[in-house]
C-alpha cells in the first residue's frame, strides 16, 4: 500500500499547488476519487495513515453525493509551503441538501446505524469541516494540514 516516491522525483517545490477534479456519476467514480486523493496526498509527502484517512473521507463524501444527490463533483487541492503540507477536499452536488446538518454531524454515524452520512466520521478524521447546504446545492469542504 505504501507508495513511496521514486528517488529521482523530488518533492514539489514549496508554493506548488495541484488540483484534481473527479466527476461523480457512478460507483466506480468513488474509487477514482479515492485514488486521486491518495495520489495527490502521497505526492506531497503525507504519511500512509493520513493518506488512508483522506481516502476514507473522500469515499464517505462522494458516496453521499452519489446516493443522496445522484452525483456531483469532487475536487482535491494540495498545497506545499515551506512550513506545511495541506490538502483540501471539496465535494459539491446539486441535490436536495442536508435538512438537518447539526443532526447529521452529532448523530452522524455514532450509532453505526440509520441515516449515517458519515459526516461525524469525516470531522473526526480531518482538521476542519465546512458544510454549505440548501435545496439545490451542497458543498462540503474539509482539509488536513501537517507541519513539515
Amino acid at each position: 500500500m505504501t507508495k513511496s516516491r521514486p528517488p529521482d522525483r523530488p518533492e514539489p517545490a514549496p508554493g506548488a499547488t495541484t488540483r484534481a477534479l473527479i466527476d461523480i456519476r457512478i460507483q466506480d467514480d468513488i474509487l477514482r476519487a479515492r485514488q486521486a486523493s491518495r495520489t495527490a496526498a502521497s505526492a506531497i509527502g503525507f504519511t500512509t495513515v493520513d493518506q488512508t484517512r483522506l481516502a476514507t473521507v473522500v469515499s464517505e463524501l462522494t458516496r453521499n453525493a452519489l446516493v443522496y444527490a445522484g452525483g456531483g463533483v469532487c475536487r482535491v487541492l494540495t498545497r506545499l509551503t515551506v512550513q506545511e503540507r495541506s490538502v483540501m477536499i471539496e465535494v459539491e452536488d446539486q441535490g436536495p441538501g442536508i435538512a438537518d446538518v447539526t443532526g447529521a454531524l452529532t448523530r452522524g454515524f455514532s450509532t453505526g446505524r440509520g441515516l449515517g452520512l458519515g459526516l461525524a466520521a469525516v470531522r473526526k478524521l480531518m482538521d476542519d469541516l465546512v458544510i454549505e447546504t440548501c435545496p439545490g446545492r451542497t458543498l462540503v469542504r474539509t482539509g488536513m494540514t501537517r507541519r513539515r
Partner: protein, 129 residues
C-alpha cells in the same frame, strides 16, 4: 465483477481486492449467505489484507454480514486488516467493525473452526452414538 468465494472444507474463503465498489460488497454478502444457507459451509473468512480503505458503508455491510451468518448458525471472521485502516476505523467512532477478527487468513480459518466446534456445528454432524 463479483468477488470470488472459495471453499476449503467447511470454511468459505474470500479475499477482497484493494478497491471494491458498494455493489461488489453487497454482492459478496448475498453470495456468502447463499453458500452458508446451502449447507456446504459453516463459516466464512473475509481477508482484507489488500483493502486500503474501509469506510463506514463497507464496515457496516461487513458487520451486518457477520451478524446474518451468526444468526443462521455460522461464523464470519474478518482477517488481515492493515494498521492504517484499523487506526482510521477506530478514529471514526466506536464499533465501526462489529464482528470476529483475526490477524491473518490462517488465524481466521482457525477461529472459524474453533467457534463452530464450540457451538456444536450443524445438527447433522452431531454424533449419533
Amino acid at each position: 465483477m463479483r468477488v470470488p468465494i472459495l471453499r476449503l472444507g467447511r470454511v468459505l474463503l474470500t479475499s477482497l481486492p484493494a478497491d471494491l465498489t458498494d455493489q461488489q460488497v453487497m454482492d459478496l454478502q448475498i453470495d456468502a449467505l447463499a453458500l452458508i444457507q446451502s449447507g456446504k459451509a459453516d463459516g466464512l473468512v473475509i481477508d482484507i489484507t489488500a483493502a486500503d480503505v474501509v469506510d463506514s458503508y463497507m464496515a457496516r455491510i461487513l458487520s451486518e454480514t457477520a451478524k446474518m451468518v451468526k444468526i443462521m448458525g455460522g461464523v464470519a471472521v474478518l482477517a488481515g486488516m492493515q494498521p492504517a485502516v484499523a487506526l482510521t476505523l477506530v478514529e471514526m467512532g466506536r464499533d465501526m467493525i462489529d464482528m470476529e477478527t483475526a490477524f491473518d487468513l490462517e488465524g481466521g480459518v482457525a477461529k472459524v473452526v474453533r467457534l463452530v466446534a464450540s457451538r456444536g456445528g450443524r445438527h447433522d454432524e452431531v454424533p449419533t452414538t
